[in-house]
Structure formats: structure tokens, C-alpha cells
């Protein structure tokens, strides 16, 4: 796709050339895991003497909340970072750089896809830091049933797809948008419902049943559950494999649909 590489390099260059943006982006997931992950100590919710068993029952088999929630934090990090793909399109429009891209012989979709790919790179780097931090902190992430190459690939694929999904959704929203306030209004409106109507932070057994039923259709849940299954369970049973396959298939189908939507919308609709 013509224009993809120079625009992608521009995005990455702008990222590492802005030390505040770069380091704040790195710190954000650390706060997530260190503060939010430690805020909920589930051992305090179950009777003494059977705390490990009780906690693990509430947390889908995870020995502590950080091991449970890391999958959700990885997914919501993708959600928050994906937002920037959209806001960056509006910035480029407001600062005039979008005009330069539009008068150049590049594919319009390159402009949108470089924002999405740059978001994915940022999210993957954040994910590595996040997992490392979760492993280091006391009472942190525990791979009680091991963690192999297949598990790592599932984690990378889920993060990449959910990052793609959110980055492309926010890019689609921003394709004709000129005002930053408008996109932030939309972000504020849909962020929390997307996060809390999902299994990212809480298991289905902890939720009101109506919310739990809605959450199963939320792609945030699919990504969080796919990552959680390999982190908590290690080697999966055949039936667990089937469930994992369904989550990944759901994410993949959405990724394909959004890829097509982004190509069509950006080629036809993007304006200065």
C-alpha cells in the first residue's frame, strides 16, 4: 500500500521524539497494574482458612486478582491507546499535515492504517512492560500452570486484534471529524460501558446476571477471556480450546470487517 512505510515511520518517530508522550505511555500501564490490580484484595472477601480456594473460585481459577485482571488490563490498555489513532487523525487535519498526505500520490487508506499500526506497536510495547511489572510486584502475576510459546502467541494475537479493533473504530469515527471535543465526547460515552460491560475487570460469576449476559457479546470480553485462559490455565483441555477458538475467531472476524470498513471509508470519505 503506497505511503504506508513513510507514514508509519513518521508515527513512530513522533512517538519516541516526544519524551513525555513516550514515558507517560509507558507509565500508564504500570499504574494500572500496581494500583488497580492491588486495590482489590479478594482474600478479604472470603472466610479465613479457605482463602486461596475461595479467591480462585471467584476469579475463574486465578490465584490472585492481578493474575486474573492482567488480561483485562492488557485489553483496556488497547482500548485507551487505540483512542489516539482517532485523535491523531484529527490533529493531522487541524495542523494541516493531512492536506499534504491528500495531495500526494499515496492511498488514502495508508493514512488511516498507519495510525492503526502505530497504535498496535505502542500497545504491544506497553503490554511487555505491563506483564514484566505484574511479574515483579509482590503478590503479582503467577503462571501456576506454565506459559509456553503457544500461550504467548495467543496473548500477542489477542492484543494485536483488540488493538486493531479499537484503533480502527476510533479512526473511522475521526475520518470526517474536525473537532477534538467531539471525539472526546464519544470516547467518554463509550469507554466505561465497553470496559464494565465486559469480563475485563470482573468474572461473570461476580456480575449481575443481566450484565454478564450482555458482556459475553463484547469483544473486550473475548480478548480478556482468551488471554486469561492461557495465563490462568496453561495447557488447555479440548473444550477450553474450542472456547478459545471461538473468542479468537470473533476477534478475527471483527478485524476483517473493520479492515474492509476502514479501506472503503478512508478511500472515499477522508477530507482535509
Amino acid at each position: 500500500m503506497s505511503g504506508l512505510m513513510p507514514l508509519f515511520q513518521r508515527e513512530i518517530k513522533k512517538w519516541y521524539k516526544d519524551p513525555i508522550f513516550f514515558f507517560v505511555g509507558m507509565l500508564q500501564p504500570l499504574f494500572w497494574i500496581a494500583l488497580f490490580g492491588s486495590a482489590l484484595d479478594f482474600s478479604k472477601f472470603v472466610p479465613s482458612g479457605q482463602s486461596t480456594f475461595g479467591v480462585s473460585q471467584i476469579l475463574d481459577g486465578a490465584p490472585n486478582y492481578i493474575t486474573f485482571v492482567i488480561a483485562g488490563v492488557l485489553t483496556t490498555t488497547a482500548l485507551f491507546t487505540g483512542i489516539f489513532a482517532g485523535t491523531n487523525i484529527i490533529w493531522d487535519r487541524r495542523l494541516g499535515t493531512l492536506s499534504r498526505f491528500l495531495i500526494s500520490p499515496i492511498r488514502r487508506s495508508s493514512i488511516v492504517f498507519t495510525k492503526i499500526f502505530a497504535s498496535i506497536v505502542r500497545i504491544l510495547v506497553q503490554a511487555v512492560i505491563l506483564i514484566a511489572a505484574a511479574l515483579i510486584i509482590p503478590n503479582g502475576l503467577v503462571f501456576q500452570n506454565g506459559f509456553n510459546v503457544f500461550d504467548a502467541l495467543v496473548v500477542i494475537a489477542s492484543i494485536t486484534m483488540i488493538a486493531f479493533i479499537f484503533s480502527s473504530i476510533f479512526s473511522l469515527i475521526a475520518i470526517r471529524m474536525t473537532k477534538m471535543n467531539s471525539i472526546f465526547g464519544i470516547i467518554n460515552l463509550i469507554n466505561l460501558p465497553l470496559m464494565f460491560a465486559s469480563y475485563a475487570m470482573f468474572s461473570k460469576s461476580m456480575m449481575a446476571s443481566w450484565l454478564g449476559n450482555i458482556a459475553q457479546y463484547n469483544p473486550v470480553s473475548w480478548s480478556a477471556q482468551a488471554i486469561r485462559m492461557v495465563i490462568v490455565n496453561g495447557s488447555l483441555t479440548a473444550s477450553q480450546m474450542g472456547t478459545l477458538g471461538l473468542y479468537l475467531l470473533g476477534l478475527f472476524v471483527l478485524t476483517v470487517i473493520l479492515t474492509i470498513a476502514c479501506i472503503i471509508a478512508s478511500e472515499k470519505e477522508i477530507r482535509e
Binding site: M5, P6, L95, G96, S104, P105, I106
Partner: protein, 330 residues
């Protein structure tokens, strides 16, 4: 040879505003072609259509023989554009911006580096090549924009209001750079402006646009001379002298502005002035002051549009129209 050809090119924005109305242009290769008109005349919309940024509502056009509607990507490869607004990324260095733009045209790295250095040198930005564009002054940024439009060695360079917002001194420097580009690269330049003196200085041919239509086309000299004559303004000592001046046989007209001022219109000051002096001496007219007013593009504009270009700038209707057009383009 014709490099740009438009046939009934029309753009109607949502809301019904006809920004460009059945435009028929034929622009020859190798010249600086100026589109003159007030804000809202349709100049930028014309440029945006020719550079494939927006699609015409009806009509068609070719640039360097390539159709702007069916082969927009191919058109973008052979043109250079310097838009009205700044487009360089201020977080990147000057040279990084140029190299990025070069890659949009698939120019090999070594070649793009050579061109970028050469172009930065052309506009005296070599020593600022490694500075972030955000640190550049307005004039420096405009110069960088100019060479960004040249990195692909275009056949046609579109300059949309290249000196808008610059102070007079910087504007004059910009004109020198544009002349230098024309001289060194010998390309066709399409220049829009609402500064009369800018097109008078730079353009080989001018089309005056108003309300989306071309009113007249010609060289600056031919447009001015078509107004038929120069004006000699004399400071005199009363009506008696005025009456004598009225008898000057080669005057096209003599207008008494007030008791002490007379405007004498002659075909050409260059050829008529000696005879006029002889006539004044022979008739004992001793003017206190004398000045010459040659026709200006402002007068040409007034002749064809019925108003002065400066007056049309601030008019409420035009301002509203301009704001509406910006909104509709968005």
C-alpha cells in the same frame, strides 16, 4: 503546448453554492499562470479540483494530458502542490519532512537526499535543515512548503496564495524564490493570489476570476493596455489653464477634478509626453505639479467586475461566503 485544459468545470457545494461555474481554461506549458480574484472567487476550489483533492460536480479537466477524475493518482504523481495552509509536520526536522514527502513518490533514498539538499539550498534553508519545523519562522515555513512541492520534479506546480499572511519584505523574498524556481526548473506554475502586485510581478498570463467565472484572460500588460491610456495628473493655477489644457489635440479626455487638478488621459505617456510639454509651453501653462498614473491591475479588475478588489475583500457577503465555503469543503 497546452498543459492544463478544463471543460465546463463546475463545483457546487452542499447548500447550493456554485463556487466554480462552467470554467473553461487553456493553459500553455512553461509559463507562470495567475488566477486573480478576491476571496471566495473560486480560485482555491479550482486548484483543489485540478489537484484532485475534490471532485468536480460536472465538467472535466486534464493536467499534463491526464484526466483529473478517472486518473487522479496519476495526476498527483506529476504535479507539485503548495497549499494555502501550512502542511509540514512541525515535530519533524525540515529535511525529515522533505524525505518523507519524497518517499510518497517512491523516489530512491539517495536521490531524494540529493534533491532535498539541493532544494533546501535553493531557498536558503540549508543551515536549518536539521531543526524542527516548529522552530521555523512563517517565511521559512512557506519556503519549505515551496520546495516540498518540488521534490518530485513536477511538470506543473500549483501555488495557492503562496504569500498570504507574510509581511511585505518576506513576500518580496518569496517572489524572488518563485522566480528562481521558474528559471532553474523551467516548469509551469499555476499561481493564485488576491494580491494584484504579486501577479503583476510574477505572472506571464492572468485570468481574473469572480463568482466562479473567468472574466478576462491576458498578459498583465495587455490587460492594462486594453484600458486605453495613461493619465497625466497636473496641478494647475485655475480654470483658465484648465480650459487651455482641454484643447490638447492628442488627449483622449480631460477631466477637471477640482480648481487646481486636471487629469489628462493619453494613449501612452511614453509617446505623448514630449508633445504635451511642447503644447503646455506654447500655451503658457505652467503646472505646479505633475504625476503620471498608468493603468493598474486594480483598474483592470474594476473594469471587468465592477468593483475594486480591495473593496470586495472585506464585504460582509464575501466573508460569509468564504466561511461557508470553508465549512462545506470540510
Amino acid at each position: 503546448m497546452e498543459i492544463i485544459h478544463t471543460e465546463n468545470l463546475t463545483k457546487v457545494y452542499k447548500g447550493g453554492l456554485k463556487a466554480v461555474d462552467n470554467l473553461n481554461l487553456s493553459i500553455d506549458e512553461g509559463q507562470i499562470f495567475g488566477l486573480l480574484g478576491p476571496n471566495g472567487a473560486g480560485k482555491t476550489t479550482t486548484i483543489k479540483m485540478l489537484t484532485t483533492q475534490i471532485k468536480p460536480t460536472s465538467g472535466n479537466a486534464t493536467v499534463a494530458g491526464i484526466n483529473i477524475i478517472t486518473e487522479s493518482l496519476a495526476v498527483r504523481k506529476v504535479i507539485g502542490v503548495v497549499p494555502q495552509d501550512l502542511t509540514m509536520d512541525e515535530d519533524l526536522r525540515g529535511i525529515e519532512n522533505l524525505l518523507m514527502v519524497a518517499r510518497f513518490y517512491d523516489i530512491p533514498r539517495g536521490e531524494s537526499l540529493r534533491r532535498a539538499k539541493e532544494l533546501l539550498d535553493l531557498v536558503d534553508l540549508t543551515e536549518f535543515a536539521n531543526k524542527n519545523v516548529g522552530t521555523y519562522s512563517g517565511g521559512m515555513r512557506k519556503r519549505l512548503e515551496l520546495v516540498a512541492g518540488l521534490i518530485n520534479e513536477p511538470k506543473v506546480l500549483f501555488l495557492d496564495e503562496p504569500t498570504i499572511g507574510l509581511d511585505v519584505q518576506t513576500r518580496t523574498r518569496m517572489w524572488e524564490y518563485i522566480r528562481e524556481v521558474k528559471k532553474k526548473l523551467n516548469i509551469t506554475i499555476i499561481l493564485t493570489s488576491h494580491y494584484l502586485e504579486e501577479l503583476d510581478e510574477l505572472a506571464d498570463t492572468i485570468s481574473i476570476m469572480d463568482y466562479g467565472k473567468v472574466k478576462v484572460t491576458g498578459t498583465p500588460e495587455s490587460l492594462k493596455s486594453a484600458l486605453n491610456g495613461d493619465i497625466i495628473i497636473l496641478g494647475i493655477n485655475g480654470n483658465e489653464e484648465a480650459e487651455k489644457i482641454k484643447k490638447f489635440p492628442d488627449a483622449i479626455s480631460v477631466q477637471l477634478v477640482d480648481e487646481k487638478t486636471v487629469r489628462v488621459k493619453v494613449a501612452s505617456v511614453d509617446s505623448e509626453l514630449p508633445g504635451f510639454f511642447e503644447f503646455l509651453l506654447a500655451n503658457g501653462v505652467k503646472p505646479q505639479t505633475m504625476s503620471v498614473e498608468r493603468p493598474s491591475l486594480d483598474q483592470v479588475f474594476m473594469e471587468y467586475t465592477g468593483r475594486r478588489i480591495r473593496d470586495s475583500e472585506g464585504g460582509e457577503d464575501v466573508m460569509k461566503q468564504r466561511i461557508n465555503m470553508r465549512r462545506m469543503r470540510a
